[in-house]
Symmetry: C2
Subunit: 345 residues, 2 copies
DNA sequence: TTGTACGCGTTATCAT
DNA sequence: ATGATAACGCGTACAA
């Protein structure tokens, strides 16, 4: 375990540690020859600086953390990619971190801030119902992106949010179905206990029905199975299968994720029925799969690219002190594809 | 920026720093009352230990790093989940890290080892053609899992590999197609320059043809577009579209990833043709999507769960000094689904 | 341009 | 059971 340290390099080179440090960090005042000599020795010795020591000493680092809740969701994948691109443009480093569903993202963030001297944090997903006391400990600017945070007005000034209005977008897609003539609209929803986006999307569904004078029927709602991976194809498949087996009549099916819609497509296919001829199916998210499945899936698209840009743009402005925390809501958009059709009223 | 440190806590509690340290790390010899008092103050002050400082001082930590090359691949997602489960069972911590396609995974690993005092490393994906000199710097046991490493015999003793034989599995699926009567088999391959799994899978394809006395035709090979996301649905879609447009005759299509097979399905569908009636389609990987797409996709399934178990089992044995490095090869399995059919010879 | 010495926050060692 | 203190490896003010 004879780890090479900066001292060893200094000793071997016959220089002081600070000179080596200067060589590593590209400081200006160092003799080019000394520098290249040091670099050669570093390579020869296979020396790698210890990041823990660096972070400990460094007063500030140009890095931003992105905390993603749940790693399965392909929706976040593209979001992260967009964000990363933007962060790199600004010459910052990004550290990506996954948070388990049962972990507290704030605790993780708190640790990371200390450890890495973060400049800012972006939270992707998650529910975010934390005490403002706890949020107060987080003395770096942070932005909550695409997460259905509860509207706790008390702590709104402590952070920014970039989101779509899940209730409204959910309303939008159900409204589209109704305007296409559908009245019996089944839904694959989140679990009953869900207090987050699942609840909002259900409310949007109810609002749309109500608006059009259609009465809500509990029998048409199928919560996803908590024991399966949430929002997954498997979950959509099972829920749809049960729905079909129940004998409940419906002409359209609203799955609250595109992944589940894919599963629904298969369940309907296996039942010997056709989409959209027998049932119209819509999803939610706007991820790639909906463009390639057969049939392609009508969905509510979220402006990922724009949201990513806005997120880090805003974060940098706040870091620079140019802006206050704010709460921006983006609009989704119904993308009509092959899985839906109008029916005669 | 007044960060609370262990010293502050010690001062407030009227005890020494070592006592606070003991309270934090659940050391045995500490008065329970003192401990709970300290914990209370810690909570009150919102104190969070600095991980950099801890790692710096700590002699060893029970943590294992998993480095994934490319974060898009859903194949790795389930692999990581399995691995994580196993690591938790052993009461170890896991740190997951994504490596860009243009980054050097060994460099990243080297940093991580220094920074986190790792006990072991698992590499997922990547090509792994590194000098044994460089690998030598990595003085922690590491395992290369599912990555098509080139068979450099020189450094084989320095690490373990858990893999499937890409050439053989590729042979397997193409052989299946041929035995089903197909002779004109198109392929969506990796780029020409690919030296990794892409090359192996192409070789497997060629081997199968040769074995059955079918001559290889370059016109039937469509490399994926390097400017699109690799192995993606989009990539499979575009390649298939071009293939169909080329007028080249074929009865079966082999896409070297299930994701690309999904794209192929759509391209064929849009051309007004049917799978499997007009074309048989096979993928590679065995990911979930192939079970839900319409039609479902015949593929080569990889025993992910088993491989994950074996991977970390082996790693722990090596850490414990119970085993030497070894190279285990798992067998895939052709899963026949709806996208293929036999044709008359 | 270069070297010396101190301190970052923590844990391990040793003494009490 | 507890406290004082020396590292851990590095960056940086300051001296040279």
């Amino acid at each position: 375990m004879e780890q090479v340290t900066i001292k060893d390099i200094a000793r071997i080179c016959g220089v002081g540690v600070s000179t080596v440090s200067r060589a590593i960090n590209n400081h200006p005042d160092i003799n080019p020859e000394t520098k290249s000599m040091i670099n050669r020795v570093i390579r020869e010795q296979g020396y790698v600086p210890n990041n823990s020591a660096r972070n400990l000493k460094r007063t500030e680092a140009k890095t931003i953390a992105v905390l993603v809740k749940g790693m399965n969701n392909p929706f976040f994948t593209s979001m992260v990619k967009s964000i990363e691109k933007e962060i790199k443009k600004k010459k910052y480093a990004m550290v990506l971190h996954h948070v388990e569903h049962d972990e507290d993202e704030i605790d993780v963030a708190l640790e990371l801030v200390k450890e890495k001297r973060l400049k800012g944090i972006i939270f992707l997903g998650g529910y975010f119902k934390h005490s403002s006391e706890k949020l107060g400990y987080l003395n770096v600017p942070f932005i909550l992106s695409t997460a259905g945070g509860s509207a706790e007005t008390t702590s709104k000034a402590m952070y920014s949010t970039i989101s779509v209005d899940d209730r409204k977008e959910s309303y939008r897609i159900v409204d589209y179905l109704i305007r296409s003539g559908h009245k019996k609209i089944a839904m694959i929803s989140a679990s009953i206990e869900d207090e987050s986006i699942g609840k909002l999307r259900l409310e949007g569904y109810k609002n749309a029905l109500e608006e059009h004078g259609i009465s809500f029927r509990q029998e048409l709602i199928r919560p996803m199975d908590q024991d399966l991976e949430l929002y997954s194809m498997e979950n959509g498949y099972q829920a749809t299968k049960q729905l079909l087996a129940s004998g409940e009549e419906f002409t359209a099916l609203y799955a609250i994720s595109d992944m589940m819609a894919v599963g629904a497509l298969r369940a309907i296919h296996e039942a010997g029925k056709k989409v959209p001829e027998d049932y119209s199916v819509v999803g939610y998210d706007g991820i790639d799969i909906g463009k390639y499945s057969i049939p392609t899936i009508t969905t509510v698209n979220q402006p990922i690219e724009e949201m990513a840009k806005e997120t880090i743009g805003l974060l940098f402005d706040i870091i620079a002190g140019k802006k206050q925390h704010q709460h921006r809501v983006f609009s989704g958009e119904v993308v009509v594809r092959e899985s839906t059709k109008s029916i005669e009223k």
